[in-house]
């Protein structure tokens, strides 16, 4: 399956991926209205040590611990290999955060959990983080 891959050699640490992610998943048409003066809840996270930077999002693992551990049956793996969360079923117990080895699952604004679903179901249609990355440090491809 196609996944988002991060290459730390090219990451500038600009955090644009986080903003593009938050906007793509906001359901709004105007980026300024969606994001300005708001706490954003992106599903991708830039880690920056001062020496290296790179972005982390869901790896859509072959052996998804989050899905196996989900106490509400909210996380599932589709036939396309994409791990999705049903926000209606999630109760915000955070067990997925306890088990994800990448720190790729996070709590959203309303307390339930959110994660990267590759923008397949939102207005963007393919990963907004990749499209907006100015230095091609994020790629979306089948490996």
């Amino acid at each position: 399956m196609k996944k988002v891959y991060a290459d730390e050699r090219w990451c500038l640490g600009c955090h644009l991926c986080e903003y593009n992610c938050a906007f793509a998943n906001s359901g709004m048409k105007d980026m300024v209205k969606a994001l300005k003066d708001k706490t954003i809840y992106p599903r991708i996270r830039v880690e920056d040590t001062g020496k290296i930077t790179y972005a982390v999002n869901c790896r859509h693992c072959d052996d998804p611990l989050c899905v196996k551990s989900c106490i509400s049956g909210a996380l599932s793996r589709g036939e396309d290999g994409v791990m999705r969360i049903d926000h209606n079923k999630c109760v915000g117990c955070l067990t997925c955060i306890l088990v994800c080895p990448y720190g790729a699952v996070s709590q959203g604004e309303n307390g339930v959990v959110q994660k990267c679903e590759l923008c397949l179901a939102n207005s963007c249609g393919s990963p907004a983080c990749v499209e907006g990355c100015p230095n091609k440090a994020l790629i979306y491809e089948e490996k």
């Binding site: 891959y5 730390e8 509400s72 049956g73 117990c93 997925c96 306890l98 990448y102």
Partner: protein, 415 residues
């Protein structure tokens, strides 16, 4: 056609079904379900009372689950006996089902101590099943005083679930702290303060000695009046089927890392089983949902003739009360047994990382639980701490303290 029998219809059973079907689709699976419901998310019963979910959303799998996976479900009956010589399981109604392999996923039952006078209490409930929950719900009212016996995970989640629906809640426990099975005194005190600030009262280091109608006489001599009693003292693994068939049983049904019991073609998974806790180095009953699924899945793969091993089970819990989250995992070794501790404390937060012999063995985190799974993976994958920048990692869980190779493997970037 191969015949598989799964005794129980909880999450371990669902894992077992999915495990079998990940290998082959030609066999027939019979699920024996004592409860008259398809598999549901048992830990959500407190969220149901809190109004955060409903019975429909609590279904663990879609309605088509059993049919799509070639399963027949027998509702309302128990497996009474496993005859390992004839390879048959006997049900409550006396019928016998032949099997090629069995997975015992029979779960656990509430343990109710023989309190004197318990039979004089009119409204008393366990808190394990949807039926328990609906019965408890029917007795709740704005003027009800509730006494919960047991300050563990079940008792406290129950308290949170009903807090807005009753007049008062008192929780008592023989232990001197709340959540005594997963937290030390200091962490437990933070959780207790949070619960108290939300109106829940505690009587710790004290338990009911006897009951007289609506009064509990405590061991300390105190009397507590109540309208509704919830018994959440603890649970016991349902081991009798395997024990009576001659299988090895301790606190749970003993399984190896393929989920095989000591009996031929009999597997066990979930809360009824006792498998290896790799953080502790010994067998333990790990009655947690992730473990139930993973054990069930592993059992299913092996039952279907393929190879699976589940050898990195650890205790782990993510639990929140009134918005304050706590996560615990693994085992805690004190300095007397060679353990080392890293600690950060705030007023209502704490982080304790326990390490031993160069490996992380466990943690307790209250408050900021972001990315805690990175610590969990360090325990489960047994990553030597000298292969990471532990000084950085202990302050902030991220992938940065790992080697570039590790990171590149995980994130898929080109090196």
């Amino acid at each position: 056609m191969k015949e598989y029998i799964i005794i129980g219809n909880g999450v371990a059973a669902a894992g077992c079904i999915e495990g079998i079907r990940s290998v082959e689709k030609d066999s027939h699976i019979t699920v024996i379900s004592e409860e008259n419901r398809p598999v549901y998310c048992r830990p959500l019963i407190s969220y149901y009372l809190e109004g955060k979910t409903d019975l429909e959303k609590m279904k663990y799998r879609p309605d088509s689950f059993y049919e799509e996976n070639g399963c027949s479900v027998i509702y309302g009956q128990k497996a009474e006996k496993i005859n390992t010589e004839a390879k048959k399981v006997t049900l409550t109604d006396g019928s016998e089902l032949p099997y090629d392999a069995v997975c015992v996923a029979a779960g656990s039952s509430p343990f109710v101590p023989p309190f004197e006078g318990l039979d004089t209490v009119e409204k008393k409930f366990s808190f394990m099943t949807i039926d328990d929950t609906l019965a408890l719900e029917a007795s709740l009212s704005k003027d009800a005083r509730v006494l919960i016996v047991g300050a563990g995970l079940i008792g406290l989640k129950c308290a949170e679930g009903i807090a807005d629906r009753v007049k008062s809640i008192t929780v008592c426990d023989l232990a001197t702290r709340v959540l005594s099975s997963i937290m030390d005194d200091e962490c437990a005190a933070i959780m207790q303060r949070k619960l108290e600030s939300c109106g829940i009262s505690f009587l710790l280091g004290d338990s009911a000695a006897s009951f007289e109608g609506n009064v509990a006489h405590m061991k300390s001599g105190v009397s507590v009046e109540f309208d509704v009693l919830v018994l959440a003292v603890g649970v016991r693994a349902n081991t009798s089927l395997v024990k009576e068939a001659g299988g090895e049983v301790n606190r749970g049904i003993v399984v190896n890392n393929r989920m095989e019991t000591s009996l031929d073609s009999i597997y066990a998974a979930g809360d009824c089983s006792e498998g290896f806790d790799m953080s502790f180095g010994q067998n333990r009953v790990l009655a947690i949902l992730p473990n139930a699924y993973m054990q069930g899945h592993c059992a299913g793969v092996n039952m279907a003739g393929s190879e699976a091993v589940f050898d990195n089970a650890i205790p782990m819990n993510s639990i929140g009360f009134f918005g304050l989250h706590a996560m615990t995992a693994g085992s805690y070794f004190g300095s007397e047994s060679g353990g080392e501790l890293y600690e950060e404390k705030g007023e209502n937060s704490i982080k304790r990382l326990f390490s031993k012999d160069g490996y992380l063995t466990g943690f307790m985190i209250i408050g900021d639980v972001k990315c805690a799974g990175i610590y969990t993976s360090l325990i489960r994958e047994q990553i030597p701490l000298d292969s990471v920048d532990y000084g950085l990692l202990k302050k902030n869980p991220s992938l940065a303290p790992f080697s570039q190779t590790y990171r590149s493997n995980k994130l898929g970037g080109v090196l």
